[in-house]
Symmetry: C2
């Protein structure tokens, strides 16, 4: 894509009303637009990142047998009353609204009850189990405060998968697979090395749930990390009983601030009991379906990555989720240089390499470099009179301080190398 065509522009000034680093950088670089506190639009660069994150998640969910659907935001009292989640004193983040006939509706804060109710149409026998169903869908949460940029929003996208199993044993086998799939997701998204499976409160129906916590000073949670074992404990269950259960020692644990980028949760039969999602076993016995839920917010993940992978010049995107792989800059207005840059753009494009081409002619070299650092695309390639007289193009990785001059063959090798 040519940058002269892109409608967004970078901003020199930081937005006055943002205290979070992720919102500040993403707004300055033109990835998102703030509609109001906790409510952000995604601009072309931001949407490209979100779609790459979605695709990683989708591939991992499909690989463990997930089937994709889309449920609805508008929700009915009759769905959430049986699970005791409708009243505002039970779930205090509902946005409520009304039909013309005064029927009260809510905007889904989550979808466990809705999907449990829906699955009653499709599950009746042991032969229908297990099943795994997921969606990417907007959640609405009426948060009192929303100051963490896209890490905590009033309107945000969530991937939520629900598992429906015959019994706890079948559930546990899938739960382990989901755990591995989640590790793959954070690894592929570039934050695997600072993201820990974290033991957290399991609620009424299981001893623990598992959170995926990424270490960052911007996090709202406190966790205790055992580096050697590669696991952590959330402060909420950090006590002697749990330590001994997990065979962890206080002296091996380091306290960190962290943000929860995903969680997996055993629901047991809480929802299936309340909404009567039952199946007949092989011997004709009626049993409640055993459930689990598995969530990741693509926007929160994107915000977290910006918090942990940036420097004073801007964002440093991991290659798998960068909006483009290459930021091609042409410097100066020399006709020959422009022709060479255009040729290179066409050549790389035709090889399926994703390029943002800064073809603007009314911007200085310094501004182009600053924009490129702010936007944070992994490879910067410069075409200038000097680079051409030096024998090619200057290529520099965003994470490295200096670049080098390469010829076309070397550039193509570098950019098409499978990591």
């Amino acid at each position: 894509m040519k940058q002269s065509h892109l409608f967004t522009k970078t901003k020199k000034e930081s937005p006055a009303d943002e205290v979070s680093l992720n919102a500040e950088l993403l707004i300055k670089a033109g990835f998102i637009n703030k509609e109001m506190a906790g409510v952000y639009s995604y601009l072309p660069l931001g949407l490209r990142v979100i779609k790459k994150i979605e695709n990683i998640i989708r591939e991992e969910m499909n690989a463990i047998g997930g089937q994709e659907v889309t449920l609805t935001a508008l929700q009915d009292k009759s769905t959430w009353e049986p699970t005791d989640q409708w009243a505002d004193d039970k779930v205090d983040v509902w946005f409520k609204t009304k039909l013309k006939n005064e029927t009260e509706l809510g905007l889904a804060v989550t979808h466990e009850a809705a999907i449990t109710k829906m699955m009653k149409s499709f599950i009746s026998s042991y032969r229908d189990l297990p099943k795994y169903v997921y969606q990417f869908q907007t959640k609405f949460r009426n948060e009192v405060r929303a100051k963490s940029g896209i890490m905590r929003c009033r309107e945000f996208e969530m991937k939520d998968l629900y598992s429906f199993s015959k019994n706890e044993e079948e559930h546990n086998a899938f739960y382990e697979k989901a755990n591995e799939a989640y590790k793959n997701i954070f690894k592929r998204a570039g934050i695997g090395h600072i993201t820990y499976v974290t033991f957290a409160s399991g609620g009424m129906f299981s001893k623990f749930s598992h959170e995926f916590q990424t270490i960052t000073a911007a996090g709202e949670d406190t966790i205790y990390v055992d580096e050697n074992k590669g696991i952590a404990i959330n402060k909420e269950v950090y006590n002697d009983e749990v330590l001994s259960l997990l065979d962890l020692k206080r002296e091996d644990l380091v306290e960190n601030k962290a943000v929860e980028v995903g969680n997996i949760f055993t629901l047991s039969t809480r929802f299936s009991d309340a909404l009567e999602l039952k199946y007949k076993t092989e011997v004709g016995e009626e049993k409640s379906v055993f459930m689990g839920s598995y969530g990741i917010g693509p926007g929160r993940l994107m915000g977290t990555i910006v918090e942990v992978l940036s420097d004073d010049k801007g964002i440093i995107w991991p290659e798998n989720i960068a909006p483009f792989k290459v930021h091609l800059l042409v410097l100066g207005g020399d006709d020959n240089v422009l022709v060479e840059a255009e040729k290179l753009y066409q050549d790389l494009n035709s090889r399926g390499i994703e390029i943002l081409f800064d073809d603007r002619t009314d911007i200085s070299a310094g501004e182009k470099f600053a924009d490129s650092d702010l936007i944070g695309i992994p490879y910067r390639v410069v075409v200038s009179k000097r680079s051409l007289s030096d024998g090619g193009y200057e290529v520099k990785k965003r994470i490295e301080p200096t670049g080098k001059i390469v010829k076309i063959e070397e550039l193509i090798n570098l950019l098409t190398l499978k990591v």
Copy 2:
């Protein structure tokens, strides 16, 4: 995908509370699930159709220079008051809700004002124009009645593109391109032959808007079609003045019921004036940006296709938007037949052909045929003892009454032929 894996099932009975054909067939066949009146979830088969429709639209919007974004559902009074669209007596389909601090919010019924306000950050000079920005996003409309299945919903996805031009002339050139892109979309989706560009009321700022109306008895609109010229007039502007302006004669026009599957609309400077989206011309003059809007609802398009392309057995999907290209059925429990069918499934899959494989062994041949007709995949391929002894597989198009036996080479040729 194997049908034994798919969690949805067809239903024998029609839903009791649906009066529309599209909802009846789509629910029976397992494409959608009704959450409440006018609010439907998309199940795996339905979501596959929606994504194919989205991709056709996306390709056509990108081809005319569109850049994709995602705006938000939650909307603020300050955005919609300047355009006089906030009060319930001005726009009567708002769902309104509230923040904890009692600030009133609305759920977007459309996004003209929101995008106009956003573009103020990015447009200031003639050099920034023209620009074309679109999204696929959920709209919420508090309709009094919702009885048309997925053709008129309270919550539904819409592709809306907005054009920002320097002046009417530049706008008109893009408007014509959008018109052609829309024709391509409906043609590619399989209803081009019964969809007419229809002159409709233009509101205060232009003589006409243009609707894309598909002829169907289920339509809520009345249009007058000139078959020879391939255009139509909406009843709302069907008068002598308009007829003479368009050089049409009453005797050439045929009255039809139709459903509006898309519309393109000149907004002129209504929104840019109200929200002060201005730019500086080459001579430093300040002018309002000239705007247009261009909408298509993927769900409504899907519902319309089901209304017009179905028979008494079920849906007949056009190939470009069918959930799968091939419905492979294995009949009987003979081990050799099962092995042959599995081999064929793997072979076709490896060639990138999208297949739903009815591998269920607890279902009769009659039930499999009935399901296949109901679901409506373009090609049905049967593997049975008989087909194998006849020398291959029975292939039948959904739109044709009978099939024929073909060998593997012929089958592959047939299924990989570019239409």
